[in-house]
Subunit: 239 residues, 2 copies
């Protein structure tokens, strides 16, 4: 039963926010009758809700329950004023991400209107090797995770994505030494990701702070602002 509920909830995503019950059943690999019965009960608890056209989507109540006690909320709350300040200065996508499993999970993104293309989304994921936030988190991750990523497939998004494990290993050392990751065109040739580590009270890296800016010579100029902002967040986390 729990497994079926998980499968139903997992079907919804940014590209499929609303589904009819038969399509939902197909994607969750459930009989329509089973899906229909479970959807009915989930709607009763507010975990799913029905649109006027009878399509089903995630319920506001589930968002509320997951958000009000989210383990990421304290970090997000501490970082937000600094993220805004950085965004006001850089005027491009500004984002906060954490390591989750073998991927980078984006907790927050502030975007300017008409900013450069950016594949990240709030509550969206990217692989660790392809994004600046991911590289920063990987550079400071346990050795076993680094080895797993280095020995696994490193798919290319563009011709600039680092797909050679030797190059990636050297980059991780550079990122630890230099304190930032600069990824021109790794995910989209028009954009450069720049990210720095955010340290928690014990000094461990707890998040990555990043910007996505146009892929040109100005990208590097964001590094000082990123570093200063990350220090501000760390100070706020330590208080």
């Amino acid at each position: 039963m729990l497994g079926r509920i998980v499968r139903i909830i997992e079907v919804f995503g940014p590209d499929t926010p609303a589904l009819g019950v038969s399509e939902l059943a197909r994607r969750a690999d459930l009989h329509v009758a089973t899906a229909s019965r479970l959807v009915e009960r989930l709607v009763g608890y507010g975990w799913l809700q029905r649109d006027a056209d009878r399509k089903v989507r995630i319920g506001v109540r589930l968002w509320e329950l997951a958000s009000r006690a989210s383990p990421t909320l304290p970090l997000r709350e501490a970082a937000m004023p600094y993220l805004e300040d950085l965004h006001a200065v850089v005027r491009h996508h500004t984002q906060l991400a954490v390591l989750d499993g073998d991927e980078v999970l984006f907790l927050e993104r502030l975007s300017a209107r008409h900013a450069v293309i950016n594949l990240t989304r709030i509550a969206g994921r990217l692989p660790l090797h392809a994004s600046s936030s991911g590289e920063v988190l990987l550079a400071h991750a346990p050795a076993e995770l680094q080895e797993r990523v280095l020995s696994g497939p490193l798919p290319a998004y563009t011709r600039f994505t680092v797909t050679d494990p030797k190059v990636l290993r050297a980059r991780l050392a550079d990122i630890r030494r230099d304190g930032y990751a600069l990824c021109p065109g790794y995910i989209d040739e028009r954009a450069t990701g720049v990210a720095v580590p955010v340290r928690g009270p014990g000094g461990a890296v707890v998040a990555a702070l990043g910007v996505v800016v146009p892929n040109d010579d100005n990208a590097r100029a964001t590094i000082p602002a990123l570093r200063a902002t990350a220090l501000g967040i760390a100070r706020s986390l330590t208080q």
Copy 2:
């Protein structure tokens, strides 16, 4: 089974983000063995997670699932750049809220460091009669909801909270006419809430945009900025 899972997830909140299993069982009104077994399975799916001290909290995965397809995400994404602009001008708490059931649910809050006291939280709720966002949403709510709130208890937070249904009814008419709600000291005597409606593509009120500022003569001066920002959000929602 689903009912038990809902009870477990509902136990967690901003004041109880992490609980031991026996405390969790007590609050969810379940046998410890039952709670323990369900917690184990929820941890397996990432819907709950265990701290180093074995306490249980909401899992990052549940936050991710609920957030990436949240019905409130399009509104939140459209409003966020405007919310930031308003926050940069007003330099006090700036927030976006929707009507959910008989309460106001806050989707987003931007806060300045050292700003005035503010009881609202992201994914937090307040009663409709006591907050400026709530009054705005109530003023534009279906008549049956208005009548239910007006005939129900109107608890006081301070000596300034409106607790007389006749006064509240007249205020709702004023808010519809004037286009804003100004609530000096309703929730905390030191703070004033000011809110305006945000309209969706069809012209219906879909959210409330508000600020919480010090309770003094300057509070009223935020109204033009609030109204301009709400029009910007509405324009963005219509595009």
